[in-house]
């Protein structure tokens, strides 16, 4: 692993390019269904990025969507029952998810390996069962008629309405960019370095003055905060929430999307995986929804055997291949 200061120009140029592309996407493909798909891509990306960030500390999060749900439900209930504006709702959704992540993180992140993965799964299931049973959370039917984003008065643009996929897309992109930059920065800083040391030799890290739990919690809470925020966004964008959309299957799909993207870079891997997979998935849904499951299954099997480090490792692998030949 190379800790030499990466020439910032490279990454910053790529970032700039990405930002431009992301901003222009709905302009280039204004079809509302397309934009809707891009929104799905963005949501998946944030989740995938979070998943990869958690992977850095050596934890396999099998319950990522639980925090999506926590954010969503928090914001939905706050806006429906307390009249909180969805704009603040998103923030609270993230905060709530982050706090819960903090709570369970402090207790469970001491556990290592597979058991931790099982616990993330168990937690996600507990959340799902709770929200699908208790009436307060709307039970099986979920929550309907969640307020959408109210119009804002933006200086220079006048009154901007957020009632179409087009405008909501930009809200999401703001979240994607903020979370991407935040998680990228975290991963590339001394924090990321410390994260990586933990799965390799936690005892040694501890003996060098690193407090493992602190760093695991930082990674976990960050990932879950953004997942919560994005969850709140989806609640207001779609206007409804169903517990069924936070099932274990969805968590596995997050894992697959992130793995396909590539663990080399938290931000880029997550973005790549999220966007690509959702685009293919949407295409397949239009053809025949039954293919989606088979698709995801085949993809992960292929990736595991052919390109285990994900698509980001393609350039390296091609280089290695050429060197052998």
């Amino acid at each position: 692993m190379n800790f030499t200061k990466r020439k910032p120009i490279d990454s910053r140029l790529i970032f700039l390019g990405l930002i431009i592309v992301l901003v222009l996407l709905p302009v280039l493909f204004p079809n509302p269904a397309r934009v809707g798909m891009f929104i799905g891509c963005g949501v998946a990306s944030v989740l995938a990025m979070g998943w990869l960030l958690i992977l850095r500390i050596g934890c396999l999060s099998l319950g990522q969507v639980a925090f999506l749900g926590i954010g969503g439900y928090t914001s939905a209930i706050l806006s429906q029952k307390l009249g909180v504006s969805p704009w603040f709702g998103m923030l609270f959704g993230g905060i709530c998810a982050g706090l819960i992540a903090l709570g369970i993180g402090l207790i469970f992140l001491r556990i290592r390996g597979l058991y931790l993965a099982i616990i993330t799964f168990a937690f996600a299931e507990i959340v799902r069962l709770v929200v699908s049973t208790l009436e307060f959370f709307g039970g099986h039917g979920g929550i309907l008629e969640i307020p959408k984003f109210p119009a804002l008065s933006i200086p220079g643009l006048g009154i901007v309405k957020f009632d179409s996929p087009f405008s909501c897309y930009y809200i999401l992109m703001a979240i994607v960019l903020i979370s991407g930059i935040f998680m990228w920065r975290m991963d590339h800083s001394a924090l990321g370095r410390t994260f990586r040391s933990l799965p390799q030799n936690e005892d040694l890290a501890e003996s060098l003055g690193i407090h493992p739990l602190r760093y695991k919690v930082i990674s976990f809470v960050t990932a879950c905060f953004f997942a919560g925020m994005v969850g709140a966004f989806t609640a207001h964008y779609y206007g409804c929430l169903y517990p069924g959309s936070y099932s274990p299957m969805h968590s596995v799909i997050v894992q697959i999307q992130a793995t396909v993207g590539g663990a080399a870079s938290v931000a880029f891997g997550g973005l790549l995986g999220g966007f690509l997979m959702v685009m293919v998935e949407t295409f397949l849904l239009n053809v025949d929804s039954r293919w989606v499951l088979i698709f995801y299954g085949t993809v992960i099997i292929l990736i595991t055997f052919v390109l285990p480090e994900g698509l980001l490792s393609l350039p390296q692998e091609i280089k290695k291949f050429r060197q052998k030949a």
Partner: protein, 255 residues
């Protein structure tokens, strides 16, 4: 006052007594050797001192302060660092990266300074990098700085491990089998290094070893542990002739 005092430390584990009433005083600046047959409890003692496990009874005082019950990373901050048996490294990280990580305690940085890439953070990172490169230079590993740690020769790995322990700037080093698996030349280089650390850097060293030649050669004093109990203590010439020690080691002498 001794820099490290182990007072009546007992450690029971699943019905077995790993350590029983261990009393050791480590004087500042000395090189103390701990020897004993396999399974005698030496690593358990290190684990207790460095905070990975807690003694069932007894106290461990570092500069007069009881460090029992403190977390390992807190104990390092106070000034006691340990290395592990085998190789004490982050295997997939580069050599340079390993040493950089080991400098974790150097001018500790806060969360937001890191995230916002502040001037002080950048300065600190630069300093750590320079210090680490300098350390690699003294270890003759400059050309391997970007090589993953588990890809360098074993002898170098052990040296790297020691360098990492030093990077914590702790006053007391607990070294667990520093010359295990080394060739005689490598072991000699290591003992030279240990002496240098003591006199040049003014550190106190406690080491656990099986290699008698090393132990007799480099330690000021030796403590012998057998079946979890201290059975002898004294300078090397003394220990060599102690009948109890000889009996405990019958057939397991490694020179």
């Amino acid at each position: 006052m001794a820099i490290l005092e182990i007072k009546e430390v007992t450690h029971n584990f699943k019905g077995l007594t790993a350590l029983s009433q261990i009393d050791i005083e480590v004087q500042e600046g000395e090189i103390l050797g701990i020897i004993g047959p396999n399974g005698a409890g030496k690593t358990t003692l290190f684990n207790n001192i460095s905070g990975f496990i807690k003694p069932t009874k007894g106290e461990i005082l570092f500069r007069g302060e009881n460090i029992v019950g403190l977390r390992p990373d807190v104990i390092v901050r106070k000034g006691v660092v340990r290395s592990f048996q085998g190789t004490s490294l982050f295997p997939a990280v580069s050599c340079l990266g390993n040493i950089i990580i080991a400098h974790h305690l150097y001018k500790e940085f806060g969360f937001w300074e890191t995230m916002l890439n502040t001037k002080s953070y950048l300065t600190r990172e630069q300093e750590v990098r320079e210090k680490s490169l300098a350390i690699l230079e003294t270890l003759n590993l400059t050309d391997k700085k970007d090589v993953a740690a588990h890809d360098i020769p074993y002898g170098y790995q052990k040296m790297l491990g020691i360098a990492m322990a030093l990077a914590t700037d702790a006053r007391v080093l607990l070294l667990d089998e520093p010359v295990a698996g080394m060739t005689p030349q490598e072991a000699l280089a290591m003992t030279e290094e240990i002496r240098r650390i003591r006199s040049g850097l003014k550190k106190t060293i406690v080491l656990v070893e099986h290699n008698m030649k090393t132990v007799m050669g480099v330690c000021d004093r030796i403590v012998v542990i057998h079946h979890g109990e201290k059975i002898a203590e004294g300078p090397p010439e003394f220990i060599k002739k102690d009948p109890q020690v000889i009996e405990a080691y019958l057939g397991t002498d490694e020179t």
